[in-house]
């Protein structure tokens, strides 16, 4: 993927990856061998007909390519940009065994961007059924479930507690990776199928549980919005943020444009981000754009970083300094942050994921201090507890996630769930995949009674 020069992109929040030109997309598409048993499809959680759509690009029939993609994925401009392709479709592409896999994500993005510029085809919808489905949450899971239920002819109401739809796509993933206009465009396409979107509605509060359960079917896609904190000393000083707060202030509230926008943020001159996933990379790169020197503190080795490969590269290019094999033990200062104390970590035996278990080193030089004025904790999120906790008969797992079977059914017959609230923090496409299954179950149930 082509990227804008670092000096330029650090000055704005515009998209970093520039996308493929028509010519390069066609060339890249021609590399695909059109395998009869395509391994790439096994790697895609929604089983897009990858050789099919890539072949259409090679033939320069972009409309056809778009139809093929959208048969399985209503949000291709989003997935083409944020899927961890190296762990999914491109990770299993046969060409990757010896050389470079086909750039499936980039091609998917190309097709979606082409369609957006050349006019969108509305999908076919079934005649109205008179059944009414409530969707809780407008993240990728909720939007996908809404789209599937609308196409089956049901009336759909989406409830969203924030003032904008999109879930993490809107408040979490920064615009330089996921332009907000594109998120809005893809969501609007689904809304155009006839969904009613009720913003500022917190289900469980604005809409009581019995009102919710009165719908013919309910889909819960409330996500993994509960930020975890490390529980170390100094964590509540001013200047310590959860990644959710830091990213929300910028992405949803536009604190980067303060005071033109009202929401403030502490920009910091030296920022420590704790964590190694996509959320940590996003926080670090936002902090760079706000003008800070940024350290990213990670417990394991650089090779173990769980973030998307492309974002790690981007972070390195943008001057984020990686401090690996280290774990924060204390935030210094009070009431403002003045530093962070860390313990170096030893890499010990491998855990079941094949990564080494980090254990604190002992002895001289096992601790060090970084001089920082802002700390951002990006160590993970739990399932959003509010609604799930208010529905008495809803069975939940140990970590508070809603328990579902393979078809997205919960312990209440007409209530279904999908996305991060069911699986724990995962990926956009996994959320969409599980929502699609749940919606299929909803549609089946509603057609039977």
């Amino acid at each position: 993927m082509n990227r804008r020069p670092v000096e330029e992109r650090l000055r704005d929040f515009n998209e970093v990856a520039t996308g493929l030109s028509k010519e390069s997309a066609v060339l890249e598409a021609k590399r695909c061998m059109g395998c009869p048993k395509p391994l790439c499809v096994d790697g895609c959680p929604v089983s897009i007909d990858i050789p099919g759509f890539i072949n259409a690009i090679a033939e320069e029939d972009f409309r056809k390519a778009s139809r093929i993609v959208k048969a399985d994925n209503m949000l291709p401009a989003i997935c083409g940009r944020v899927c961890p392709q190296e762990a999914q479709c491109q990770g299993t592409c046969i060409l990757g065994k010896k050389g470079k896999p086909v750039r499936i994500g980039d091609l998917e993005r190309f097709v979606a961007d082409w369609e957006r510029e050349n006019g969108v085809e509305a999908p076919e919808t079934a005649p109205t059924t008179g059944k009414h489905v409530a969707i809780v949450g407008s993240g990728p899971a909720g939007i996908t479930a809404a789209s599937e239920c609308l196409r089956a002819g049901h009336e759909v109401t989406i409830f969203e507690s924030l003032h904008e739809a999109g879930g993490v796509l809107t408040y979490g993933i920064p615009a330089f990776r996921m332009p907000k206009g594109i998120v809005k465009f893809e969501i609007d396409q689904v809304l155009a199928l006839g969904a009613e979107l009720k913003l500022n509605h917190i289900v469980g509060r604005s809409v009581a549980v019995d009102e919710l359960l009165a719908y013919d079917a309910v889909f819960i896609g409330t996500g993994a919005g509960l930020p975890y904190f490390m529980g170390i000393e100094g964590e509540n000083y001013g200047g310590v943020y959860s990644a959710n707060e830091f990213l929300t202030r910028v992405n949803l509230m536009h604190a980067d444009k303060f005071p033109e926008y009202d929401t403030p943020i502490i920009r910091g001159s030296r920022v420590a981000v704790v964590g190694g996933g996509n959320v940590a990379m996003d926080s670090a790169r936002v902090a760079r754009r706000l003008g800070a020197k940024v350290y990213l503190i990670y417990r394991r080795r650089e090779d173990d970083l769980p973030a998307r490969a492309e974002e790690i590269e981007n972070a390195v290019q943008e001057g984020v300094e990686f401090v690996c094999c280290a774990n924060p033990t204390k935030i210094l200062g009070g009431p403002e942050v003045q530093g962070i104390e860390c313990n170096r970590m030893d890499m010990c035996e491998l855990d079941e994921s094949g990564r080494p278990i980090p254990r604190p080193c002992t002895g001289v030089d096992s601790t060090f201090t970084l001089d920082v004025d802002v700390v951002i904790e990006a160590i993970g999120q739990g399932p959003n507890p509010l609604l799930a906790g208010l529905i008495p008969d809803l069975k939940r797992g140990r970590r508070g996630n809603i328990e579902v079977d393979e078809d997205g059914r919960t312990s209440i017959p007409h209530v279904f769930a999908g996305g991060d609230i069911a699986t724990g923090a995962a990926t956009v496409i996994w959320a969409m995949g599980s929502a699609k299954k749940a919606a299929a179950s909803i549609n089946k149930m509603l057609s039977e009674n």
């Binding site: 507690s161 529980g231 509540n236 033109e260 926008y261 403030p264 009070g334």
Partner: protein, 278 residues
């Protein structure tokens, strides 16, 4: 868009708005709040639900900074972009026996709805309200109706008892006249007033007001320490046991953006003179 159906100034720099928001009024109760955003450029700020009438919710606020001053400049019939709610856990309304509801400054606005709910649950309710001076007192008549007894205090003696609600509370505690107490006002007032019930066994609630963003439990901005544990005020509260609160931490966190808040207000006043173009 949500319409301001009624607007009044009810005390010095304090405003009472009724906003049409059926999704808030349907299930809203005492102890809960809303989060509002005035327009596209606005921040999200929490305001307590101070009353409910049909589809309209009442908010009462003091114009202290950029957002509340901009809100105060709106007229009846105009609209705000967003109002989310009801948020937070409702007050623990049940039969306690004899209750006191105590309000300081704009916190007084939270009391009528609470007093009414407590009385409906069979409690005897004393209202104690305090302000710096007579001009800052609010909702007196309404509270007199909502409570069995109302005591007024002013710091300067311009009306009622010359002194603080804490003085009255101490007397009632000494006379063993109370089973549960709510104290709502500025953090420092809640901290000091709640000392009157320390080690008395009287259940004492305070409504904490840390800085919030989403108000739905997603960001952690509103975290407070209660009995050594981190809680999110927007979902676990905002009401907590007064004697478990880490007050100094709360007050420090409230000051996090003092510099930016000043800048924001200056920017607003500059910009207002140029007639609303961005």
């Amino acid at each position: 868009m949500y319409k301001i159906v009624k607007r009044d100034q009810i005390a010095d720099n304090i405003f009472e708005y009724w906003i049409n928001a059926p999704h808030v009024t349907k299930n809203g109760c005492a102890g809960q709040f809303v989060v509002i955003r005035i327009d596209e450029h606005g921040e999200r700020i929490p305001l307590t639900i101070s009353g409910i009438r049909g589809d309209d919710v009442r908010i009462v606020f003091m114009a202290v900074g950029k957002t509340t001053q901009q809100l105060a400049a709106l007229q009846e019939g105009e609209s705000i972009q967003d109002i989310a709610g009801p948020l937070g856990t409702p007050s623990e309304v049940k039969k306690w026996g004899r209750c006191a509801v105590i309000g300081g400054g704009v916190g007084i606005a939270c009391l009528p709805i609470l007093a009414r709910e407590l009385r409906e649950a069979g409690n005897e309710v004393t209202g104690i309200i305090g302000a710096r001076n007579e001009g800052l007192l609010l909702l007196e008549d309404e509270l007199r109706n909502a409570c069995d007894e109302l005591v007024i205090c002013t710091d300067d003696g311009s009306k009622g008892h010359h002194g603080f609600p804490a003085d009255i509370l101490k007397e009632k505690v000494a006379a063993k006249e109370l089973d549960a107490v709510w104290i709502i006002g500025p953090a420092i007032m809640m901290k000091i007033t709640s000392m009157a019930t320390l080690n008395t066994g009287i259940k004492t609630f305070v409504s904490l007001n840390p800085i919030m963003v989403d108000g739905t439990g997603m960001c952690g901005s509103c975290r407070v320490t209660i009995g050594g544990e981190t809680k999110f005020a927007c979902v676990d509260g905002p009401e907590f046991d007064a004697h478990q609160v880490d007050w100094d931490e709360l007050m420090n966190r409230q000051r996090t953006y003092t510099g930016q808040e000043k800048e924001s207000l200056e920017h607003y006043h500059e910009h207002k003179c140029r007639c609303g173009d961005h």
